[in-house]
Amino acid sequence: MLEIKEISVSYQRHCALADVSMTVEQGDFVALIGSNGAGKSTLINSVSGLTKISKGSILFQGETISGLSPDLIASLGLIQVPEGRKLFPLMSVEENLEIGAYLPDPRKMYARNLGKMFEMFPRLKERRKQSAGSLSGGEQQMLAIARALMAQPILLMLDEPSLGLAPIVTQEIFKILRELNDEGLTILLVSQEVLQSLKISRRGYLLENGSVNLTGASGDLLKDVRVKESYLGL
């Protein structure tokens, strides 16, 4: 479904990604792990079109998408939940969800999808009229996910959804992601929570210093010595 072919990204002189390749299959749940500054966000932003790649190509459902503007990429069903949530702080919960369903097709399904979201995240329903900026961190993250889901993603990409959240909230969010994948949604998860993300995902990629150093089934990665030593502290 998503094919990343040997892409490179550089900021000024610094090389953020070097010849990275990666694939995500239909129904897949891929975890992209690595330390801070390894290039995970750069990779996901390159897919969304927020970062320009200097080399290589990105294909989504067989079509080249590298070079397209972010809004066009979103309209193909490639939806990102950005790092730091990036909600519309002065707008209400409901308005945030409305913007999530901004594209023509999702807009038609707005009412139905809104109901689904409120079912999935009952707390958002309680706070529907409140401004997004006034929500707690966990609620904000849920809203960010719900906003992305309103766009009816074909592939959902999440950038550090657990950052700054209490462990119990993190667990809740990961549980929801698992369920979404079980229902058939393809997910690409970027996270520093190596253990948890490998536990819920099917496959994993380890990104270090801008290149993929390890890949395989999540279960295998969990057992890998390098992962254990560097990321799980075992």
Binding site: S69, P70, A74, Q80, F88, I99, L103, A148
Partner: protein, 291 residues
């Protein structure tokens, strides 16, 4: 000092202030959301006033009715201006400064265009209702300010409702609160910017005709109007639509009260003194920036 005079001053002041607010709301919007200080804003308003003048004298069409033509025209002009001109500076490091320089050039072009087409003589809207009044008890409501007030209420509430109730309006707010995330939701930033700018320029048209109902105008008048724009926006909070309306009312009340209580020559001193106090005490304006 008698109560009739005080109340009459207040009414006049509030109506006047409301027209300033109508002229200022678009200026506030582009400044607040796009970080573009459009110093040609008042010049667009002036253009609409001149257009209304011509249409009135040629075809007898009421200045207010002329907005049916000029507002859409200005909207598209604004969109085009963004697409071909302003878009080039939105990536500049200091958008505010470069936008001021760029739009200053636009203002000069518009001013000279007005000079060329209409000449330097001052103009007035002299319609059948110009000196008509509604008399309520001891108070006089002159038609032109009342019409200006109604235009302002209609204009500002439409902009407010557009931003709060329509999908595109919400997209405008989203785009300026969180540009990156809005793109991830499928919002085309270039298109939204063009719409925002077009809307602001269009609202200037309504404001310009409103000013024409109150004051005489000539090709240089926009320089003066610009001062009121800054006043309204700084009091009302940059980018805050309802704040702009409130600022208009506040300025109106202050002007009205000082006209009734103080020697008249103090009125402008007081209004702009107030502006300075607000800038010092609450640099973000009396009302929070909100879009």
């Amino acid at each position: 000092m008698n109560s009739t005079l005080i109340f009459q001053s207040l009414i006049s002041g509030v109506m006047m202030g409301s027209v300033y607010a109508l002229l200022g709301v678009g200026f506030s919007l582009t400044w607040g959301v796009m970080k573009v200080i459009n110093v040609a804003h008042a010049a667009f308003g002036l253009l609409a006033a001149f257009f209304a003048y011509t249409v009135f004298h040629r075809y007898g069409i009421d200045p207010v009715v002329s907005l049916v033509l000029s507002v859409p025209f200005l909207f598209f002009l604004g969109c085009a201006l963004y697409r071909f001109l302003l878009i080039r500076i939105t990536s500049a490091r200091a958008v505010i400064v470069s936008s001021m320089i760029l739009t200053f050039g636009v203002a000069i072009i518009l001013e000279n265009l007005a000079l060329l087409l209409w000449g330097a003589d001052p103009r007035l809207f002299t319609t059948s209702y110009t000196s008509k009044v509604i008399i309520v008890g001891p108070f006089y409501f002159q038609y032109p300010p009342v019409i200006g007030f109604v235009m302002s209420v209609v204009g500002i509430s439409s902009i407010y409702l557009f931003l709060k109730r329509t999908y595109v309006g919400k997209a405008v707010r989203a785009a300026w609160q969180q540009p990156e995330a809005s793109q991830l939701c499928g919002i085309n930033l270039g298109r939204i910017s063009a719409i925002t700018f077009g809307l602001a320029v269009a609202s200037a048209g309504a404001g310009g005709v409103g000013m024409g109902l109150l004051y005489s105008f000539e090709p240089h008048s926009h320089n003066l109007w610009l001062i009121y724009l800054f006043l309204v926006v700084i009091v009302g909070g940059v980018g805050n639509v309802l704040g702009t309306a409130m600022a208009g009312l506040i300025i109106g009340v202050i002007t009205g009260l000082s006209m009734a209580f103080l020697p008249y020559q103090w009125v402008n001193l007081l209004t702009f003194g107030l502006l300075m106090v607000i800038l010092v005490v609450k640099p973000q304006g009396l009302f929070q920036s909100e879009v």
